[in-house]
């Protein structure tokens, strides 16, 4: 099997390094890339997918910067909690629902980039960990349901310090495990994994989570 060039990808990402690296990696893999910025409702999702023409790849590559600001659970107000832990899951759900008719029976690919602290937790970032695991389980459920439609759904985890280097000082618990590979450009590594899952020879992989954190978490 050879990688398929000429894919059409819709990338959900707000302006910033993560979305830009992922878009660059997809373009390098031969994809045409269209970007839509969260938060996303059903109308936004449908419009973005329709504007892309015939998308066969959907990538979620977004983390709300506010959710990367450490706060203890006992200090969180309910609106702040909802914005950090619920809104990203809602946006992803509406995007997946709108994407399904575009992706089915076309070797469709869905890839999520998730913070790796969903796998191991971190003090000060409870809502982010909660949202990350919710999104990952939504992805696994979509993988199970849509496998018969020839759609794969996978996740790539990235460390929060790659998303925001300042967190190494602001939330040291999130940076407690050093990556085995040291500190290469983690976002490039994650973007390369996304591009392989989205455009490469990964058609038999679904419901999987690939750690692109330089070997920090190593879960399971």
């Amino acid at each position: 099997m050879t990688p398929r060039r000429g894919r059409v990808a819709v990338v959900a990402a707000r302006p910033g390094p993560l979305g830009e690296r992922v878009a660059d990696a997809l373009i390098e893999a031969g994809a045409e890339v269209h970007v839509v910025a969260p938060p996303i409702d059903t109308g936004t999702a449908r419009a973005a997918l329709a504007a892309a023409g015939h998308p066969d790849v959907v990538v979620w590559a977004d983390v709300d910067p506010d959710a990367l600001t450490p706060r203890s659970v006992v200090d969180l107000g309910e609106p702040d909690w909802a914005r950090r832990s619920e809104d990203p899951v809602r946006s992803l759900l509406w995007l997946l629902q709108a994407a399904h008719p575009h992706l089915r029976d076309r070797d469709g690919r869905v890839v999520l980039v998730c913070p790796s602290i969903g796998l191991e937790g971190a003090a000060g970032l409870v809502p982010l960990a909660t949202a990350a695991e919710a999104q990952r389980l939504l992805a696994k459920s979509a993988a199970r349901r849509w496998g018969g439609d020839s759609i794969t759904v996978n996740c790539v985890t990235v460390s929060v310090t790659a998303l925001d280097p300042a967190l190494a000082a602001a939330a040291p618990d999130a940076a407690r495990t050093a990556p085995a590979l040291g500190a290469p450009d983690a976002l490039d590594g994650a973007a390369a994994a996304v591009a392989w899952l989205a455009c490469g020879t990964a058609s038999a992989i679904t419901g999987a989570t690939i750690g692109a954190d330089g070997g920090a978490v190593m879960a399971p």
């Binding site: 909690w81 997946l96 937790g121 909660t130 696994k140 459920s141 349901r145 849509w146």
Partner: protein, 252 residues
């Protein structure tokens, strides 16, 4: 007779029926004072009539912060404190088969409010009391929150969210000496009982994929696992999900 939970005060949400009721029975059997928070007022009287130890049964809708605060306050006022909190309540719609493609905003909100946002209410309300006694916070999650679900995607999503919450809160509250864990049970529930009654062959068919050969009993199989996590015996266990499924689910 003394038990591992003698003198400990444990609040259980969704205590009126099914797994919640089994947890209450197991906790009481181990000597706990139980705050059996029930969603339906009509479940309170039967709960109290069957109680085998010190028990109160406040009505509590976990989606309402005021109800949660009142249940925690009742625990403290009646029994003098709170050692452990068990969040077992789930949406009444948790067993609904739902196409991911057609899951509605209302269903998402329902699942999220009961399973996840309630965790915020419970954690904030219980924290000072649990910290005072180096207590335990236990969340009933699900194997679906580990493996995903083709036909109950939103249920799996919120159960996964709970696992992320548990792991992160365990790290946040470790300094307070509070252990935070999850339990992922495979158990007979009222809905499953009803399904088995309607299709007598179903139980044997489904049990074939369980190495131990049966669905967990809420009181004898699931409740003791929860009781263990509420006890001093589990004081060095935190941030974990204990899968209690007769070996049905082995991938964590």
């Amino acid at each position: 007779m003394s038990g591992p939970l003698d003198g400990k005060v444990v609040l259980v949400t969704g205590a009126g029926r099914g797994v919640g009721r089994g947890i209450v029975d197991a906790l009481a059997g181990d000597g706990a004072c139980v705050v059996a928070a029930v969603h339906r007022a009509e479940d309170a009287a039967p709960m109290l009539a069957a109680a085998t130890g010190p028990t109160i049964a406040p009505v509590c809708d976990v989606t309402l912060r005021a109800d949660v605060d009142a249940a925690v306050a009742a625990a403290v006022a009646t029994f003098g404190g709170l050692d452990a909190l068990v969040h077992n309540a789930v949406s009444n719609r948790s067993n609904e088969i739902t196409d991911l493609e057609h899951a509605s905003p209302a269903l998402f909100d329902e699942h999220t409010a009961v399973s996840v946002r309630a965790l915020l209410h419970l954690a904030q309300s219980a924290h000072p009391h649990l910290a005072a006694r180096r207590g335990a916070f236990v969340v009933l999650t699900s194997p679906a929150g580990i493996q995903g679900s083709a036909d109950r995607a939103l249920y799996a999503t919120v159960k996964g969210a709970q696992r992320g919450f548990v792991k992160a809160l365990a790290r946040e509250w470790g300094a307070d000496g509070i252990c935070v864990n999850g339990v992922a049970p495979l158990a007979v529930t009222p809905a499953l009982d009803k399904a088995f009654a309607g299709d007598p062959a179903m139980e044997a068919r489904l049990s074939r994929v369980i190495p131990l050969g049966w669905f967990g009993d809420p009181t004898r199989d699931i409740g003791p696992a929860v009781a263990f996590l509420c006890s001093d015996a589990a004081r060095y266990v935190t941030g974990q999900t204990l899968v209690v499924s007769g070996g049905r689910f082995t991938a964590l």
